[in-house]
Each structure stands twice: as C-alpha cells, then as structure tokens.
C-alpha cells in the first residue's frame, strides 16, 4: 500500500514536506494537495491537525501518538463535514479498533489480545453508530459494519490466496522434480551403479551405456517414438538391434533410405545376421543399412570382423543356412553372404515387394 511507505519529501517542500510527500506518493500535483489542506484547515482546523498527524506519522511510523493524532484529525474533519458528535465518536471508535486489529498482524490469526481489543472497540463503535438514530447514519451503519469486516478479513484472505498459489507452484515443482528424479534413479543411476560394478568388463560397460543412451533418447525425444509401433521396418529393426546390443555388448548402427512395412522373415533373418556378427566376428560395431524402394526391400548387415570362408563354413553354422537363407527363400527373397577371412562379413537380404 502506497500510504504505508508515505514519506515527507525534501524536494520542493514548503513546511515539513507533507504535501509534497503526498503529491509524490499519489503522483498528483503538489498545489492541488496544498489547496485541499488549506480548505481543510478552514474546516475547524482539521487540516492543521491532519498535517501535524501526517508529519508525525512520517517521523515515527506506526507509533500510538501518531495514530492518535490521525484519529483526532479524522474526528475534526468529520465534525466539520457536519456529522453529530455521537456519529463522529462511533466512527472514530471503529477506526481506532480497526487500527489496533490491523497493527496486530492484520488478520484474525493474530493471537495478541490487542487485536481482540481492537475488534471489540470497532464493535462498540459500530453499536454507537447504529444506536445513534439519525436516518443517514442508520443507512450508513450496515455498510460500515460490512466494510469493517472486509477490512479486518481482507488482508487475511489475500494472504491466504497468495499462500495457496505459492503452495501450488511449489507442489508442481516438487512433483516435476520427483518425476525426473524417479526416472533418473530408475535408469541413469542404476546404470551408473552397474557400470561401477562391472568396470573391468569393457564390453558390458559399453552395452550398459548404450542401452541407457537409447532409453534416455526415447524419453527426451518422445515426439518421435523409438519403439516399434508395428508399422515400420526400420523401427522394428531398431528394436531388434537394441536386443542384440544388449545381449552381446556390441553397437549396431542403423542407416536407412526409405522405409517399408515390417516383414517377419526379413526381420528375423536380419536379426539372426546381427546376432551372428555379434557372436563370431569379434567386433564392437555392426552396420545395418535398410533400403526400401517400390520394387524391393533390402537389408545389409555388415561387420569388419574376422570373417570366414563361406564355402567351408562349418556345419555348426546352422544359423546362416536355415535361419537366414532358408527363411528368406521361403518368403520369396534372396540372401547372399559374402565373407573374406580377416576383412569381415556382409549379409545381403533382399525381398521383392
């Protein structure tokens, strides 16, 4: 409230600077304020007392004698306006009571007995006003009581609302933080703990970090779901690649040009090729490239590992013969495995659309 911070003004003061201070606080012209005070001074000297009261208030804000002076000034003012003494007395009592109540923290919660005394005083003032009998006061009184209640309860309600808003904001922030903390705890912290426990196994550490990276990306870039929604071969292959990464501690890089609906034979064969590369090639990284055109879908799985002689592949390499070639051929496609010992292996899967 502006008046709370009311100060006399040293700039452009004529006497104590009260008028200039008011003009400053209300941003009005100082001459207007002086004129009002001069007129009030004519009204039974109220202006002079008011001036003194305000000056006292600005010197020693909130002291009882400053308040008293203000009340006297107010009473003189009201008498000058023509109210009866009883009415003025009632109003002054109400004002004094309110002042007491306000000063004790401005709320019902104030435990100080003075605030109850203040309210009692205000109540007496109201009764005096009501009992006063003259018609305008009777009309005025209920409004005065309502106003008084509002004045007493207002600050309390206001503060209650502010507190509730602050509380809600804090709660939302806390909930958000708890959500992030929960996720970080469930994922990142767990992974970090695991990494510390497996610090001597680089492959395991790499695969843990990789899985965590994928999860975090999925969460951060939720607008592009990394999960397999069943409509995209590339997405399905990414999921399969993630499994292989996790199981075998390798990294699978997927590049693509175009996309197609997922095909089970192609998917399983590609997965088998990735698994083979992860198990036998002795490499840390596998490249997968998907190319989808109107005529066919092709998947290439390549490693730069130890390689093997395709012609003399041991019988144990059932995976290639059955899971890759057989599966693709039954689906109407082709699978070609090229490998050079020491240079790596590539499995080429093609399926007409």
């Amino acid at each position: 409230m502006r008046l709370r911070s009311f100060r006399t003004s040293a700039d452009g003061r004529a006497l104590a600077g009260v008028c200039a201070g008011i003009a400053e606080a209300l941003s009005v012209d100082v001459s207007l304020v002086r004129l009002i005070f001069a007129l009030l001074a004519l009204a039974g000297g109220a202006g002079i007392v008011l001036y003194l009261a305000l000056w006292a208030w600005s010197r020693a804000q909130g002291t009882w004698w400053a308040v008293l002076l203000l009340l006297v000034a107010g009473a003189l003012l009201l008498s000058a306006v023509g109210l009866s003494h009883r009415a003025v007395g009632g109003i002054v009592l109400v004002a004094a009571g309110l002042t007491l109540a306000w000063r004790q923290g401005g709320s019902f919660r104030a435990e100080a007995p003075l605030s109850y005394a203040g309210m009692a005083l205000a109540g007496i003032g109201a009764i005096v006003l009501l009992a006063q009998g003259s018609a305008p006061s009777r009309l005025l009184a209920p409004g005065a009581v309502a106003g008084a209640l509002l004045l007493i309860a207002g600050p309390w309600l206001w503060r209650l609302a502010l507190e509730r808003d602050a509380e809600r904001a804090t709660r939302i922030r806390t909930e958000e933080r708890a959500d992030v903390a929960g996720r970080v705890h469930d994922s990142v912290l767990q992974t970090l703990a695991l990494i510390q426990r497996h610090a001597s196994e680089p492959r395991r550490v790499a695969s843990l970090a990789r899985r965590q990276e994928r999860e975090l990306r999925g969460w951060l870039y939720a607008d592009r779901p990394l999960g397999d929604d069943g409509s995209s071969l590339v997405a399905a292959l990414s999921t399969a690649a993630a499994d292989v990464e996790e199981l075998h501690g390798v990294r699978v890089e997927i590049a693509s040009a175009g996309d197609a609906p997922p095909d089970n034979a192609l998917l399983l064969a590609a997965r088998e090729a990735m698994t083979n590369a992860a198990k036998f090639a002795g490499v840390e990284e596998i490249d997968v490239y998907v190319e989808a055109s109107e005529h066919e879908t092709a998947v290439f799985v390549r490693d730069r590992g130890v390689g093997f002689d395709v012609a003399t592949a041991p019988e144990g390499r059932q995976g290639i013969r059955e899971s890759i070639k057989g599966r693709l051929e039954r689906a109407g496609g082709t699978a070609v495995v090229t490998s050079v010992p020491g240079e790596g292996t590539e499995v080429e899967l093609r399926l007409p659309r």
């Binding site: 951060l220 890089e253 590049a255 040009a257 175009g258 990284e285 490249d287 490239y289 190319e291 590539e346």
Partner: protein
C-alpha cells in the same frame, strides 16, 4: 605438417575425450563452447579444420559457418553430433560443412575424417549417406538444374556402400576404382547436397530426425 584443428563443443567432458583420442594425429589449436566464442577464435587462429557440434547453447553450428566462411574461406568444417534433428544436420551441410559424422565414431576414423576434410574432400556417415539417397530418390524430375538434382548411378552406388558401412578404400577395392575417384564422387554428392533445389531435402529433413 600436422592438421591444425579447432574444437567447438559445449560439453567439456566430450572435448577432453576427443582431444585425448586424437592424440598426436592432429594439432588441436583451440577450443570453444559457444557460437559467440568460436567465431572470433576461428578468425584469429585460422585453423585447417573446425570440428563443429551441431547444437550449441547460443545457436546452431551453421551460424558459425555463416559468420566465418566469407572471411576465412580456407577453413573447413566437419560437423560432429550426438543427437540431432535432420534439419540441423542439413542446415550445417548446406551452410558449407564438408561432412557429418556421429559422436560414436571410432578415434582412428575421426582422425581419418579430419584429414580427408582438410584436403577438401567430403565425409559422410552411413546415416547421412542413407539420408542423401532417400532425398535424391529417383522419380521426381526437375526441369531446371537436372544435373544438381540427380545423383549419377555411380554416385548412388558409392553412397549405398557408405551407408552399408564400407570405408573408402573398401569401396574402391569393391568397385575397382581408386580411392581418389571415390573421394571425388563423394565431393560431387556433397556439392549437389549443398546446391540442390530438390524440395525433398528440406521436406525430408523436417519430417525425420537423425537420432
């Protein structure tokens, strides 16, 4: 003489890692973490290659290229990124970067990529190769500048092998060409990527994220 490299990345830990990985293969002349820091530093140090993160706290990598290219035409840019929207990668390439690699790239491959870029050649990660193939997909015929908007069968072949994870010398051996020829094909693709008016380039980039 060693290639003089300037690193631009806002992740201190990553910078330290790259510095350690590159070791003695190149000379790291400086580091910057923001667009505002990088621009004057590049002008001052005039490095051979700037290794550039696509995302920086105060802007994206292409802002640096745009601010520097006119004054220091000799400086080559290689974009390096961990997670990125395709539109940013394409913006960096179209602004003039000579290549794009992911942050998971092996140390020796990164050193090789820097050398390649320093010599004016282009470097594509498999993912970027896949993207280019997708964006330059046959089918759409553009009347003007057909040369810029289409890939030759040979370029397509080379890009396809890059996407499949082959290195330049492996591609050269497979196609019975010299590494020099492969490099010139890739550079030609880069030029098309930078100058092409194919609207797929921008449309594709906004629809996809190269994550």
């Amino acid at each position: 003489m060693k290639t003089r490299v300037l690193l631009v990345d806002d992740h201190g830990l990553f910078l330290a890692g790259v510095r350690a990985e590159l070791g003695d293969s190149v000379e790291v002349v400086g580091e910057a973490g923001t667009v505002a820091d990088a621009v004057p530093l590049i002008k001052e140090l005039d490095p051979d290659v700037v290794l550039l993160d696509v995302h920086l706290p105060d802007g994206s990598g292409d802002a640096i290229i745009n601010a520097v290219a006119a004054e220091r035409p000799g400086v080559k840019f290689l974009a390096l990124s961990v997670s990125d929207a395709a539109e940013d990668v394409i913006a960096v390439i179209r602004a003039g970067a000579r290549g794009y690699v992911t942050k998971t790239i092996a140390a020796d491959e990164l050193a090789a990529a820097i050398e390649r870029v320093a010599h004016g050649d282009a470097v594509f990660s498999p993912r970027l190769a896949g993207f280019v193939l997708d964006a330059f997909r046959a089918g759409e015929t553009v009347a003007s500048d057909a040369e810029l908007n289409e890939l030759t069968p040979r370029e397509r072949e080379v890009l396809q092998l890059i996407a499949r994870g082959y290195m330049y010398k492996e591609i050269a051996a497979r196609l019975h060409l010299s590494v020099k020829t492969i490099e010139s094909h890739v550079s030609s693709v880069l030029r098309k990527l930078q100058l092409s008016t194919r609207h797929e380039l921008t449309r594709w980039a906004t629809e996809h994220r190269l994550v």
